[in-house]
């Protein structure tokens, strides 16, 4: 027989904290607290499996479950000496949901269950406190109507307000027993009128319906939405915790509160919390009465004149202090504790690991190590790497009012506000005039770089998590919301329609690149603070990780940021971004339009000094750390002029007609540029391009080395699919290097390798490895080709995939370990068969994503490379991967 129900009490406890999947987080912790002797009101937990059974069973609680619930209930009656449904000494219950993962505010709770017109009288007599009894009954009716009967309680609440006004009082506590009794009659009448149902009087009926309601609430839309956003599987289900009531509202020596064992905002090691006397749990968070501070430390502007619990009831306070210390030592983490004091006796209703800011998470973990509670390893595993984002980017003021317009992909974290602009030019002009701007585009392309630099944030209608906008914005550390299909942009009219509203150039918008939200107007932001502990915490992480962490950067500014965050080299320096500067683009276009090798070489000769300068700057800023430079990758038509003026300018420059410019541009058009004439394919047809780039690298390396700065260049040939491609191109690269070393009288050790970014490259890695000193996995493109999925186009339908649960995670965010990962592992294995020492890394966007970094560690890579702002995340994730896979 399945065990569907687990009892907990000081006397006998069937569960423990390891049983979260079955008992939910709350149930497992209640059991655990009982087991370590804390004062927890007795009760029982109905398992998550019962929830799934309930759904499978056509929303009926099966007989086995019923029988076990009845048995557990009798046991609670025995322990408490009270009786469920008894008029004289009634046992009352709280009924709460409790899922495996914390889902705050998503599930529902009923308190004081078991009350009716008779037992309220018994409770009043028993406690000698009729006001308490009627107040409890009123609360029960209100909650039950709401949660179990699905009744909108605003009507009940306004009746209460009316009554308070009639009585001329402000606080609920000022109402008398009679007032509550009168109100209850009105409540019942309203419920009957509105729902056509009498309020149930049988406690057992109340219990079954409440349990069913909690089960059912697992699938309420709010809960489903929350799970979708947070990646919680729908098949987990929720447990139900049925716990005997203790009453914080039994009079002035009763109360209830919430406390944290450390400050959840800063992480400081101080006991922190709020409480209310003569109140039930909901009152503390409801905001009707201002909660009081439990101690001096917890005082703030709004509560500084209220008495602390330490002052009001020192015995309870000191008991609480003792308990929190026990709990923190037991759970080895900061705890978020709910307590109730009934007639000066303290009960613990719940404990869980407390939510905290990233800064607090780092501080707490560091302190717990200092205190000897945690090992460094445990501390490192405690902090969620993604949370470090908070430390590095400004965010919306949580108390500010927001008018949400639409949501897109959270492409680059941080919040930003500004006047919207629809072109790179407009953004630049406004920015020069000191206006903060948000660049709004269908999508961005390398031509928009200047506009992106000038903007506070970027918003696009198309493109996914690794679209141009997303990748570049993350590189710049700028907020970006991408692929918001609800935008209808008209460039000609300079408007964007979002939802029903139209915004024109200059109108203010706010974006949150961490959530993907787009808001009307300017929403205030706050900048995040970096705690002192952060640096030392990161150093601990570095002690354990075996993966190197490099950065993707292509200019000295970005490399400086990355170095300050701890980058150990450049894993990907894209050379194409360098081609767009105004003083270069004409020569680039001249090169593209060349009709002969000689013309092409002449145009490339003009670019050589620029490229050489670029590489000098990067080599200097990296001071001897390895710099992996990818030779030109994108299709040439990305560099073509689109604006009429640009075409005219180019035509004049080349001394050809505008029509000829258009004709030659048309010849470069491709149906699927992603799969077209790009990467090393350009070098097979136009060897001169790579030759110029290699010469620029080599000459820059010699120059910088001659200035006394060590240089470690790595030359990466992109989009190789055939061993022969790399064989041929490697020999051309070596030829140019040899020439330069001879000319300069100096040789710089230079590695030559390739990106593995095509399935065929991964499959034939053993062959390709013959000609490569290193592999760098370009998992953006590898994901595109393995899935046959364009990252720029997938925004239109991937949301449907996630909604229908066909895809759990965007494969451009978290590496698809089953598919793409198979190819990466295969290539690592095959490549090392040929060259057992081969250095291997990853330079796709996945290089900064924790689950992907864990995969990279397991696959045996040597390093990951990510955008500058993700370097700390990668360092921490790499340390966690090393610890997790020891």
């Amino acid at each position: 027989m399945t065990k569907w129900v687990y009892s907990f009490s000081a006397e006998s406890t069937e569960g423990n904290r390891e049983m979260k999947p079955l008992l939910g987080g709350k149930g497992a912790n209640l059991a655990e607290m009982c087991a370590i002797g804390l004062p927890v009101p007795p009760g029982f937990t109905v398992t998550t499996e019962a929830c799934l059974d309930y759904e499978k069973n056509g929303q009926v609680i099966n007989d086995e479950i019923s029988a076990q619930v009845r048995e557990a209930l009798e046991q609670v009656e025995k322990i408490t000496g009270k009786s469920f449904g008894d008029d004289e000494n009634p046992l009352l219950f709280s009924v709460r949901s409790g899922a495996r993962a914390s889902m705050p505010g998503m599930m529902d709770t009923v308190l004081n269950l078991g009350m009716n017109d008779s037992s309220v009288q018994g409770l009043a007599k028993l406690t000698g406190n009729p006001r308490f009894a009627w107040d409890s009954y009123r609360r029960f009716i209100q909650m039950y109507a709401n949660v179990v009967m699905g009744f909108n309680v605003s009507m009940l609440e306004s009746t209460l307000e009316d009554l308070k006004e009639a009585r001329g009082v402000k606080e609920d506590t000022e109402l008398t027993a009679e007032d509550w009794q009168e109100l209850i009659e009105v409540y019942k009448k309203i419920i009957l009128e509105e729902t056509g149902k009498t309020f149930p009087t049988s406690p057992m009926d109340q219990l079954w319906q409440a349990v069913a309601a909690v089960f059912g609430s697992w699938n309420n839309p709010r809960a489903i939405k929350y799970r979708e956003i947070n990646g919680i599987p729908h098949e987990w289900g929720t447990a139900v915790n049925v716990q005997s009531m203790v009453f914080g509202n039994m009079g002035e020596d009763s109360g209830t509160g919430v406390c944290f064992t450390r400050d959840p905002s800063t992480g400081e090691k101080v006991f922190f919390g709020e409480y209310l006397m003569n109140a039930q749990g909901e009152d503390v968070v409801a905001g009707i009465r201002t909660p009081a501070p439990i101690n001096e430390y917890s005082k703030n502007e709004s509560n500084k004149n209220l008495k602390t619990l330490e002052e009001v009831q020192p015995a309870s306070y000191h008991a609480l202090v003792e308990i929190y210390q026990t709990l923190e030592a037991h759970y080895k983490d900061m705890q978020d504790i709910e307590f109730t004091i009934e007639n000066a006796k303290l009960f613990i209703l719940q404990t869980r690991n407390g939510k905290r800011t990233a800064a607090a998470a780092v501080t707490i973990a560091a302190d717990l190590v200092t205190e000897g509670i945690l090992s460094k390893e445990e501390a490192i595993l405690r902090v969620n790497p993604e949370d470090l984002n908070q430390l590095l980017h400004p965010r919306l003021d949580p108390v500010a009012t927001k008018v949400l317009l639409a949501s897109g992909l959270p492409a680059s974290p941080g919040a930003a506000s500004g006047a919207i602009c629809f072109s790179s030019e407009a953004a630049s002009i406004h920015a020069e005039n000191g206006v903060k701007v948000i660049l709004v585009r269908q999508e961005t392309s390398p031509e928009d770089i200047a506009g992106m630099v000038a903007s506070q944030g970027i918003l696009t209608a198309r493109g996914g998590m690794t679209s141009h906008a997303a990748v570049v914005a993350r590189g710049m550390g700028k907020p970006c919301v991408a692929g918001c299909s609800e935008l209808t942009i008209s460039y000609s009219e300079k408007t964007v329609k979002i939802g029903g509203e139209t915004f024109k150039e200059g109108d203010p918008l706010t974006i949150d690149g961490g959530t993907g939200e787009i808001m009307k107007g300017i929403v205030p932001t706050i900048s995040a603070k970096i705690s002192d502990e952060f640096a030392s915490f990161m150093r601990w992480a570095d002690e354990f990780r075996t993966l190197g962490v490099r950065t993707n950067a292509d200019n000295p500014e970005d490399t400086e940021v990355a170095l300050s965050f701890g980058a150990e080299g450049i894993g990907l320096c894209r050379t194409e971004h360098m081609f767009f500067a105004p003083e270069r683009i004409l020569a680039v276009r001249e090169m593209i339009f060349s009709q002969s090798v000689e013309e092409r070489e002449a145009a490339l000769l003009k670019l050589l000094p620029f490229q050489k300068g670029d590489f000098e700057g990067i080599f200097k800023s990296m001071k001897g750390k390895p710099v992996n430079i990818r030779l030109l990758d994108p299709p040439l038509h990305e560099f073509l002029p689109h604006q009429e003026e640009e075409k005219v300018e180019l035509a004049e420059y080349l001394n050809i007609s505008v029509k000829e410019v258009e004709l030659r541009a048309e010849k470069l058009h491709e149906f699927n540029p992603m799969l077209g004439h790009r990467g090393c394919r350009l070098a097979i047809t136009y060897p001169e391009i790579y030759k110029m780039q290699v010469r620029a690298i080599a000459e820059a390396a010699v120059k910088v080395q001659n200035e006394g700065i060590e240089v470690k260049p790595e030359i990466m040939i992109p989009l190789v699919g055939l061993g022969a491609e790399l064989r041929v191109l490697r020999s051309e690269v070596e030829g140019v290097l040899k020439d330069v070393w001879k000319e300069q009288g100096k040789e710089i050790r230079t590695k030559i390798g390739t990106m593995i970014e095509l399935p065929r490259a991964a499959i034939t890695a053993a062959e390709i490895a013959k000609y490569a000193d290193f592999f760098s996995f370009g998992t953006n493109d590898l994901t595109q080709t393995t899935f046959g999925l364009s990252r720029d186009d997938s925004g239109k339908f991937l949301p449907d995939y996630q909604k229908r649960e066909i895809l759990k995670q965007d494969p451009f965010v978290a590496l698809d370990q089953e598919g793409v990962g198979f190819l990466v592992s295969h290539a690592v294995r095959e490549g090392r068969k040929t060259n057992s020492n081969m250095h291997m890394g990853i330079c796709g966007e996945h290089g900064g994503e924790p689950s992907s970094i864990d995969f990279c560690h397991r696959a045996g890579l040597d390093y990951v490379s990510c955008s500058p702002f993700r370097v700390p995340i990668a360092r921490l994730a790499a340390a966690q991967a090393a610890l997790r896979n020891r």
Copy 2:
């Protein structure tokens, strides 16, 4: 020590016919003929390895080789009793190249080597025939100057013409010994003047330089080009055959000739050949004298008045007959034999398997079986499947004059001529007026189908071997030249520029889809004949093959063609082509532009009867053979209107503005449509589309079955990359089927499966197989994604890949077994792990390509599917695969 030189003679022979890689085809066969006792002049072969060594060694013949050559030479002197370089009884040699694969006309030959001013006298004295001696010397000088000294011999030839004119004679044979002697002095003078070098007099020097020249000729541009075209590796090298001379020009009882053991045009079993008395080998093919027929059968219009060899020298003729029978029995194939008669004694200089037409190949193979020379298995392996193309398509008249303009990809075989048209409309109008047209487009799209149907052939500027134009043309059996980058098309001016010339609409052009050539004007074509033996030969093939052969067809016309060629079912019925008919396209566009599920369903309801009709027609024509129907695959924007009138028509039909039409169309734009919102992704977002198609299939199946015709539908879901996609869509398909079976009161067994066309699908085949009754490998898309290579764009650079030997074969033509094949094999293995009975086939273009079919056989597929005109090729290739891999 390496053996660099192999001797052959009646006395002792070191090689045999298995040694072609080392001795070349000619050398191996000379050795073999010696071994079986045929009268072959003695000599020796310098190996292909020596050729490679020569190149590696900086074009120097190493000492080991020199020594072995001298030794072999002495042996020939011993056998012949003559001496190389002797003035009295000189030994003369022919020096010929001989590569592993036959490279006719590509390599060079020197005859009579060893002659100089002294030995010519000796030869004259010895033979008593000064005219012969001086003629031989003259020939030697001419050939040596050409081949070894690289001298352009036209000057020598015109001197000979001048002399003949001066002497008033027409034939070389009419010149006297003195004439030749005089001419030789002039030759020597010209050579000295023009090259600054004296003609070498030392026979040994002549030999070394001739051998070196043959080795060097392996890398002459003609030879390189030939190897590129024919896929012969450059690293094979060529052997050199040094053979003692026999003389066909020693007088009127000497002669030379070429013969075939069967007719190479028809395959008829008749001895066939030509000869010339008093001539050396070159004279027969040089076209200066008309060769005579060797027997009655060989007579034709131009030679019917000349005497046959049988008449002139019956003894030699009968010896030749005996030898040809020996050779054919020995080689078990039709032979192409070169012979020389010296003073009425017959010598065989060369034998090889004769080239033949496809019709002859089939007839010969069939006859050899009947004659008991070959087994059926051997006969089947003899015929090159690709050659069957000749039997099925018209070709250019080989004797017609051609003005070649440019070359593109040979995308669909056959030759066609017509007036050029630049639009589908123009092609249709001209065709209706009875004009034969060639459709010329940048590329074709499904909108051009009508124009393609109306045309004799298709010519495109873009796209590869599996571009839309190529695939559809092959399906239609129409000639197509694709991806000719030398075309510059102006649609607005209705002109195409090819090379320097401009052609306007209506100008005649000819294309050869078998070679990719584009020719000016109308070049006459001849239709190929299908021999009676063809059908029975194909039946033998069917006895051995284990692979099924299906066809890719989507209309009853194509299925009829395929059935007549022996197709056993439809492996791929594309449903999108059906959407373009004028009466449907509006409803298709209405469906695409729908803003709600209801609108979409309403539009689809209009399409349902059309689709149902399509499937009825196909089911009926296939008469119980399996029909695999792929649900809608291409991105929706392929169906959008492009012409202004179409947009207006659609706007009126939908009652929206033209601007709105453009706006909605713009929303569907994709950067990389190949990797975009297509295939099953459409059905995830718009489930209604597949539901309509499945309903049409099911209703059509019931209707046709009710008419007493068996139906075997298979429903294929394209572009699956995730098991969950197929799980969800399979259940939707099953839902619709269940509804229809219930409505119709009849259930038709229907398989549901998927295309494996994405790397991720292949990798995770075990998971996908859970939801699939069959796999069909879509190797076109699988090649695109595995290589990251768009077939529509690759035409721009793949030629460079082939030129630089980076890619041996276009992977869209021959399956890339190393890369794409790895994924196919992996998927077969993994899929069968889940479902050991799973039926698997291939439906990419590779399904009709012999080397790919061999791979499919080895990979364990159940069938291949190809375009109708390739069905016979596939049947033969499948039989060969079965035999080869027994």
